[in-house]
């Protein structure tokens, strides 16, 4: 099972292809979709959409995992990220791919065992789980790995639960 984790943003969208085989996870590929800071917002959203379409088309992933957004402070940032997120979700639906969404707490819990873990703890666990070759920056790439791991873990849990009920 191959999961594409996404961390949406207009300037930078982190992505990670997290593969699960017989209970072991590994990072097949990861990267960032970037749009040009100087361009008009609408053009950047189109550019993001085109890059996402290309990525989803070639990824071979069976599912896409994205964090739910919870913003309390900067509403302007929240709205800019949401616009990018809308374009990405649209692309996922266009490719008829399964979509899973997790709260930030669920992702932290799945990766570190604690829903209150900080960024550094998440980054360390992502590398322990997927290997030290996971790039150390940007954060968006680490976060994409984390949500991909979260979906693999929750699928594993569901499978185990289903098996225990047989």
């Amino acid at each position: 099972m191959l999961v594409l984790g996404l961390d949406p943003g207009l300037a930078l969208t982190g992505w990670a292809l997290v593969e699960g085989e017989r209970g072991r996870l590994r990072l097949r590929e990861a990267g960032c979709l970037r749009t040009a800071a100087g361009s008009p917002e609408a053009s950047r959203l189109l550019d993001l959409s085109d890059q996402a379409d290309a990525l989803l088309g070639r990824s071979g992933a069976q599912a896409v995992a994205v964090e739910r957004l919870f913003f309390s402070r900067n509403v302007t940032t929240a709205m800019a990220v949401s616009q990018a997120r809308g374009v990405l979700l649209c692309s996922v639906a266009r490719h008829r791919m399964e979509l899973a969404e997790y709260t930030p707490g669920e992702v932290k819990q799945a990766v570190t065992g604690s829903g209150a873990a900080d960024k550094r703890q998440v980054a360390r666990m992502v590398r322990l789980i997927l290997g030290q070759e996971v790039p150390l920056s940007p954060d968006d790439l680490t976060d994409a790995c984390a949500v991909g791991i979260c979906h693999q873990h929750s699928r594993g849990l569901l499978r185990a639960l289903a098996a225990s009920r047989l």
Copy 2:
């Protein structure tokens, strides 16, 4: 000059084709793009994107006008609207159409002469400007008319300014 005014929303996006000819404005056509409440969010965003592509393709508009979002209270609503707005802006860029954005205050100012006008005053002025045949509901349709009028007025103003400098 034909302007397409848009009032973005996931459930309901109001649209209005506002035509300006020799200083007079009239409503050529208006309506709503709707998505099914029971469907998954990503499918609704794709549905909205497809409907927007069809509308922009057949509209014949030379420009699209949209309100800038300013939310202070309900961040969840702000994020849902922003996701829909991102998909719509993406569609505008895909059709290589001119895009104009106005703050809510600018729209009210342009339509009623006061940036602090309430919804009822805006609705009344929209009907005085475009004619009583403008549907009275939903609000989203009236708001789409208002932002369309705003862009026509601001274009008229720019033209007058340019002429006065000759």
